[in-house]
Amino acid sequence: MPTVIIDGIEYEVEQGRNMLEAVLDNGLDLPYFCWHPAMGSVGACRLCAVRLYRDESDTQGKIAMACMTPANDGTRISIQDPEATEFRRCVVEWLMTNHPHDCPVCDEGGHCHLQDMTTMCGQTYRRFRFKKRTYTNQYLGPFLTHEMNRCIQCYRCVRFYRDLAGGRDFNVFGSRNRIYFGRQRDGVLESEFSGNLAEVCPTGVFTDKTSARHYTRKWDLRTAPSVCIHCGLGCNTIPGSRYNKMRRIEGRFNGDVNGYFLCDRGRYGYEFSYDTIRSENAIDDAQNALKEAKGVVGIGSPRASLESNYALQKLVGVEHFSAGLSEFEQEAAEQYLSVFKSGTAQMLSLAEVELADVVVVLGIDPTGEAPMLDFAIRQAMRKAPMEVARKLNIPDWDANAVINALNGAKGKLYIAAPWSIKLQEIATEAINVTPANVAVFARDISRGAVDGLASGISTELAKAKKPLVVTGISAGADTILAASELAGSIPGCGLFVTAPEANTLGVAMLGGQSIRQAVDTIESGQADTLIVLENDLARRMSSPAFASLVENVKNMIVLDCIETQTTRAATTILPVATFFNSDGAFVNNESRAQRYYAVDPPVEDIPAAWSRIRDLGDFTWAGYEDILRELAADRPEFAGTLEAAPFADWRSTANRKIARETHRSSGRTSKDANRTMREPQPPDDAQTPLAFSMEGDQNPPASSAVIPRFWWPGWNSNAASNKYQKEVGAELHGGNPGVRLLTASGSEPEADRDKASVSYPQPAGESKEIWLIPRPYIFGSEELSRRGIAIGELIPPPEAAIHPQSAQKLGLTDGGTAELDFDGQTISLPIRVEESVAVGVIVVPMGFPETYGVTSPTVARVK
């Protein structure tokens, strides 16, 4: 470990850091703008100036940029040097000459890196008396507002958007003091990660447009550590609310999962919480129905917490419990679990994906299904040729030098998917084939095909330092099996399997029947009552099957927070608290158990789902942690969930709870004064180690799983996360949150090859038959986020895409209507004829009301 000298004091730093990182790693303060822990340095803003000395005898030194100075052994700098301090103040003063008088109306205010750095540099008064330069703004879509006057030309946005996120429709334009960061013309930003600009930009140029509708300052937000509910990756989030209403979501750093960033679905999906179900408390009806029931079946849900699912399983018994997955998903999830446990391949975390150099994507669309995986693969491709730069002695953090040295070199990415996925724009090669052929292709690679693409890929995989195979539950059991064989056949090869929903793996681990079997139990008359937990069955079975279920069941008790087809068909609705009003655990795609905590107490006494289930049965659980404890005792593989985050009796080092509200939360004696003069006591939270009020510890908690926000004196923006990390940009103090539940036991994967190969129906070869494939879209396919106002604007029109060849064969024309017959139902959608889908398939959007019933690749007849 190199030792550096900062203001005369020796500090140890990790190898390969720069001096700005060295300073921050050691908990010292040094202002900066253009450097970002995930993006490295470019030396553009000149704010991190320090005095750099040659050696001990050098008293003169020179002003240098800390972020561009390698932290070698013996590097000697001074932060406090008067000239360096004055230099930094001047830099801010210059940047401020054009900065508008906007703070009061700027949404960045109160969590603004520019405000923090300006204060830190001691620049408090504007001396410049001349006119300010101004810009016009652009419309960038429903997610971000653009206010270019506030720009300080740090280049972070364009580096994030182009270099990291791979976007192309955003750039820097103009010359001299007219440079402009935006699009060529107004329009919706194309990148799925555009929302991160609001966090990456150190000023208020980009701010969250959804939160502007009901703006609240950071100091007034009630925040809690949470996990994204909108896909199976389990990105860590910080949702914020005010007056018991959700206001915005920001990323919560987790070095093993999402790092600093989030996708736009995760960031803006929260608006679903405005559209919740309200209905009479019908718990008595439900209890009576259960008493009279002749057999009860319970259907759980991959978007409900582990606790709620387990509670339901206890209530109805394992043999009458369904995980709430469609048959296709259930089979694939079971296959994945067996592959995982077998240890054939190494299961990677999302952060580890970024280290791969050769990636093979099999049968899934990461951008639509698990967007941050798309981001991680882009990082992997960007970093893969890093060796080239290292050979030239260019440190990894020297971002521009690395880009020049790499000269466009990228890692190798191969894709086989039924339609042309967005990642194909950076792929080395890609093929578009039917789902069954994806598996065939994977086997070709692992069995060493003699020529063609498959053989090329197998050579590249063998050469790779960190090969990786990516697939997903939505690709089906057979593809997962084939992918695991492929990964297993290459030494050191990693495997990454996505899960469609936040808790898919959790419910799959709990086990149980598929929905189909549960429905059969009802239809065969063995049971007449159904309890559905936060699950819209209409999305998971064909419409006739759903209709017949509704007809055959005597009592259908539905617990949900949103209105769905299932709640509409229910005989009894029990409204439950939304995700933001309840606590629980999710198990993400790599079996990482992560706890999320309620941001707000339940509204109007609508309780969490688990407590509804407790009241339906004969249970004594006082809190959700009792359920978790019981689960862990009952099923040892869930023991890790107990370690994932602290329980209600945990206290900080100061023996206090963690405060969800900041120490400067305002309006306590006024916000309820329109209703009551009594100033109600803040709601108590007996369930968690967090308090709903400002009363509690405001310091960074010792357990990283209960960090409610990043804040540090002088660091109001999220850059305060510096102070929560062992090494800036790496692990949090106390380790990254979450515990992996599954480990490889070394057993063979239980592959029933015959079963696996029938998991895809085969078109009979008859001319009117075609594969019907649901395609996940980032906006629109996920059940909750599609209810959001902003996301709702970006849902693509429901269309059926088909290859010209197939279209011709079936007599379909672009712009016409396709009537597709499958599983006894018919859907009709406008046709889009395009080359980007595989021959022999027709691709329709997944989870759209128009395509309910299309739950998995199936065979349809074109009418």
Binding site: K131, K132, R133, T134, Y135, S175, R178, Y180, S670
Partner: protein, 171 residues
């Protein structure tokens, strides 16, 4: 003896000096304009609400008795959707006025706010908003800020140039 004489003297003196007591409420006392009494929300010279809902007053308030919610009109002008001061909690310290970047919130010389019912001391925006500019005439925040609002286009503020032409390549 001396002290008795002094007391007598003081007492007799008061027979001839003018009393300081005023016959309140018939007669009003002089209250200096900077007296910290009932709080109002003022309007800018154009008659629009001055408050831009920045939340600084509510953050500054030591009694935590201000709460509000920001919203925007269709031209992007920020204002308070609602604004509430609980005067039963206010200590009339004037911090809110000092924190306010727009001169919107001002304390006035009116102190006659007594009520029998505490809930009547909760003032909403309608109760707080006056039609004038109060103590600080002439200031309009939006004429200094860079954001555009109705009647003030981009680059239209005091000390601002016209928006630059980013497509120009002139040196």
């Amino acid at each position: 003896m001396v002290s008795i004489l002094r007391s007598m003297w003081l007492m007799l003196k008061h027979l001839v000096v003018r009393p300081v007591t005023v016959r309140y409420p018939e007669q009003k006392a002089y209250i200096p304009p900077r007296w910290r009494g009932r709080i109002i929300l003022s309007r800018d010279p154009d008659g629009c609400e001055r408050c831009v809902a920045c939340y600084l007053c509510s953050a500054a308030c030591p009694a935590d008795c201000i709460s509000l919610q920001a919203t925007e009109d269709e031209h992007g002008r920020r204002y308070a959707e609602w604004f509430r001061i609980n005067f039963s909690r206010c200590i009339f310290c004037g911090f809110c006025e000092e924190a306010c970047p727009t001169y919107a919130i001002q304390l006035t010389p009116d102190f006659e706010m007594g009520e029998y019912d505490r809930s009547k001391l909760v003032y909403e925006k309608e109760d707080l908003l006056i039609s004038g500019q109060g103590k600080y005439p002439g200031y309009n925040f939006y004429h200094h800020s860079g954001v555009s609002v109705k009647g003030k286009p981009r680059g239209g503020a005091v000390d601002e140039t016209h928006p630059v032409d980013i497509r120009s390549l002139l040196p």
